[in-house]
Chain length 227, copies 2
């Protein structure tokens, strides 16, 4: 489902160039659960935003589901982003003017589902993240951890076959974190391909494959690596 070959992403500003992602080769097969760990600033979010079609590579190639993303049209990319990919951002990026229900429903209305189906699925997801009584509130009326849970619910809305998750439990206590992990594991059991960036050893231990990023490079970690 994911195939990166000699992929690099370089940030240039003033006279400094930061090689955030440095000649990475990565293959991820459908149905796998992969965790990526690595120090702060090692390139994890950058790698995820390239895989999530939010950023372009400077060098190398990226094939998603067998298609070379550099050859896809704008409409094809938008369709992939909306229907094939689910993305949980490290800092949520919830839309402040929309209620919690509207935030979760947005991906579904973009892909043309009926209002009835959207309402039902939204209520189901709110229940799963233990926030059913907060649907009418706005993101700034929720705590940090509650917003993180809404971001996870939104990413699951269209039941995407590939889920890219950046640090899903960073702002959660161990109980809430466990519940989010449960939810993601359930999706994985249902066939979703899961890629999670994390500092949480619990998640890293549950994954089928563990990889480590360091200064823009990606290393496949054997079982001896456990952080």
């Amino acid at each position: 489902i994911i195939e990166l070959v000699a992929a690099s992403k370089i940030y240039r500003s003033d006279n400094i160039a930061t090689l955030a992602v440095n000649e990475i080769n990565l293959e991820i097969y459908a149905g796998e659960f992969t965790a990526i760990v690595g120090q702060s600033g090692s390139g994890k979010s950058t790698l995820l935003s390239v895989l999530g079609l939010l950023d372009k590579l400077d060098e190398g190639s990226y094939k998603l589901g067998g298609h070379d993303v550099q050859k896809l049209s704008r409409e094809q990319l938008a369709d992939l982003r909306c229907n094939q990919l689910g993305f949980v951002f490290q800092f949520f990026h919830l839309l402040g003017d929309l209620t919690i229900k509207e935030n979760i429903g947005l991906p579904m209305s973009l892909s043309g589902l009926s209002q009835k189906v959207i309402r039902q699925r939204t209520d189901e997801l709110l229940e799963k993240v233990d926030l059913s009584h907060r649907g009418q509130h706005y993101p700034n009326q929720l705590s940090g951890g509650q917003q993180q849970r809404v971001a996870v619910a939104r990413a699951l809305a269209n039941k995407p076959p590939l889920l890219l998750v950046d640090e899903p439990t960073g702002n959660l206590d161990s109980e809430s974190g466990e519940a989010v992990l449960q939810l993601l594991a359930e999706e994985h059991k249902g066939g979703t391909t899961l890629l999670i960036v994390t500092h949480d050893h619990g998640i890293a231990n549950n994954a089928g494959r563990l990889m480590k990023m360091h200064d823009g490079r990606l290393y496949s970690a054997g079982t001896d690596f456990r952080p």
Copy 2:
């Protein structure tokens, strides 16, 4: 240094009232290191924003350094916020139009320090958080964890006697988290009163006092409580 008596904070929206902080009594003495743990949504950030003079209480009283904050003028509050209190927000709130150096220097220029002293102190703090080569970048050019470290450096700028910190290691790998904790512990050794909200057991175990919040109420945890 901090004295709360029957303190409550209520959020009202539409027809739902959330009692985020519920009749809390709290005394913190100068030089103490207190950690507060608690589930997502239990009221930790709300309590910290009341203590940090960012939010007003609906009921009860708050004395900071012996002064009843409800009787202080706007100028006195601004002076307290700038010179007596250091605050690390859960989601950083760095200013996007300023460079990293300017973000760290801002509290010092607000309290009238000379440019020479500001430059020196800023370089010292950047060194302490391992970001000396990034001073000219902007917040959106740093990773999540790097931004968190800048937020800690900014809060230390004026060497405030009281430091309120909300979840300082949520987005950090264990090594970077350890380094931030070291930095805060050093400040505490130098006499700073430290209050940290956290889900990190390492921090909770290092604190002199541990408290737990649940549904807006604050419980003092004996040593048998360790999360």
